[in-house]
């Protein structure tokens, strides 16, 4: 396995569609919940410990070889908002394309056949990590980091926030990313033994509500 493969997969420029999504930040900005670096940090922290943990655990479990179909169903069950389920499948489909072209794999092909319109993004991410020869922790890191880096770069565009401040936020939550990854991997290992029901099911109701409202806006910069 190549360490550098992790950098390829984690790179914000990996062409998998993330640039068009704000991870709920656009709705939060409009609602006045994010007005600067401080608000962004609080938002990232909240997202990281809720949907971030869930996504990282799903990704880690997929990387461990847990059945992707049950993981996909588990992701559905853990995502109450229809708009977020749609966004997650859209991103899963885009990531699938990039991953299959980058790390051809029978497992990715099989999941693509099963979900031609997209499996949930964290599940695809976990399988992509697996195809790249990476482990559960790597998959969880990619997922958890993306959960905060997506909103940070979106807020730079939405509020013209100083990019150095946004990057500072990412550095400040890095320690918590480590903790979330540890918890995610631990539960993924359990899921590999005892099934997907043991995976975390934390949720952030405001993100879910915000996403539903956002999906109905006629003018918006981001797809979600």
């Amino acid at each position: 396995m190549s360490r550098a493969a992790l950098l390829v997969l984690a790179d914000g420029r990996f062409p998998a569609g993330g640039h068009a999504h704000s991870g709920g930040a656009e709705a939060a900005v409009k609602a006045g919940l994010i007005t600067g670096a401080e608000g962004l940090e609080a938002f990232c922290r909240g997202r990281l410990h809720t949907t971030g943990l869930v996504s990282a655990a799903l990704a880690a479990a997929a990387a461990l070889g847990v059945d992707p179909l049950s993981l996909d169903a588990a992701a559905d069950a853990r995502t109450p908002s229809v708009a977020l389920r749609v966004a997650s499948r859209k991103l899963g489909r885009q990531l699938m394309r990039a991953a299959r072209a980058t790390w051809p794999s029978e497992e990715l092909d099989a999941l693509a056949r099963e979900f031609p319109k997209g499996a949930h993004q964290p599940v695809v991410l976990g399988l992509a990590a697996r195809a790249a020869g990476l482990g559960a922790g790597d998959a969880a890191y990619c997922s958890a980091y993306e959960c905060v880096s997506g909103p940070a770069s979106a807020v730079v565009r939405l509020l013209s926030l100083d990019p150095f401040d946004a990057t500072g936020v990412l550095a400040r939550v890095a320690g918590e990313v480590d903790l979330v990854v540890d918890a995610a991997v631990e539960s993924a290992v359990e899921a590999a033994r005892g099934g997907v029901d043991v995976l975390p099911a934390a949720s952030a109701p405001l993100l879910e509500v915000g996403a539903e409202g956002h999906a109905a806006w006629s003018v918006r910069l981001f797809a979600s």
Binding site: R13, P15, A16, G17, G18, H19, A20, H21, S22, K90, R93, Q94, M96, R97, A98, R100, A101, T102, W103, P104, S105, E106, D109, A112, R113, P116, A154, R157, S218, V219, R220, L221, F222, A223
Partner: protein, 227 residues
């Protein structure tokens, strides 16, 4: 870009620029239209649809900056049935969606082929943000860069990737040249200097000829594509 040898060809195609559909037939020709905001890209797309829809199976993908404005204009004008027009959301960066991360556009293109295909031609419009926005070769087979005479007659001289490398440069709104003091002869000479043998069309969609020359160029591309 394949790194391994085990790539399988079943399921949805994984790779963007494959010229053939999974069943082996040649897919639709994809033509990108880029250029600054307001130069007449959507108007050109609409006019092309009106001229070509009787002879070709057509679809359009739009990439707006923050609304579905272009798609909605095309729907209002009824240049094509609604199921043949798809809007891609670009996260405020159309140039990223047409060049650096083309996955959403590829999906739009594939879904159109699947839902209303087989198609002969797909026009992909970029929302237009700047003079450097060009389409990835993984997304389109040929690209048209649309500028207009009112945006300043020094744009061809300034060059840039769009003006210099597009397969076709369209200088639109020639009807406005007298009002904005643009020197068409100078624009033509500058464009020639930047583009060598690559073609340039001067058009006014307000004139009788309208989009005819661009439509003829598209037909030529299509003829070369389908042989």
């Amino acid at each position: 870009m394949h790194l391994g040898h085990s790539h399988s060809h079943d399921g949805p195609s994984a790779v963007s620029a494959d010229a053939r559909r999974p069943d082996g037939t040649r897919r639709a020709l994809r033509v990108g239209l880029g250029g600054p905001v307001g130069s007449g890209k959507t108007a050109t797309v609409a006019a092309l649809c009106q001229v070509l829809r009787a002879e070709l199976s057509l679809a359009v993908v739009t990439n707006d900056i923050y609304t579905r404005e272009d798609a909605e204009f095309l729907l209002r004008e009824a240049v094509l049935p609604p199921e043949r027009i798809t809007a891609v959301e670009t996260g405020a960066c159309p140039h990223t969606a047409i060049r650096d991360d083309i996955s959403a556009n590829l999906e739009a293109v594939e879904d159109l082929e699947e839902e209303v295909g087989p198609l002969d031609l797909i026009l992909v419009e970029s929302g237009g943000d700047n003079l450097t926005a060009t389409f990835s070769k993984g997304l389109v087979d040929a690209q048209i860069f649309v500028i207009d005479v009112a945006g300043g007659d020094d744009i061809p001289r300034k060059g840039g990737p769009g003006v210099t490398t597009a397969d076709l440069l369209v200088v639109n709104k020639t009807d406005l040249a007298p009002y904005v003091g643009s020197d068409l002869a100078r624009m033509a000479a500058d464009a020639k200097a930047q583009r060598a043998a690559l073609p340039v069309v001067f058009q006014s969609l307000r004139s009788e000829a309208g989009v005819a020359e661009v439509a003829a160029w598209v037909r030529e591309q299509l003829a070369a594509w389908t042989v």
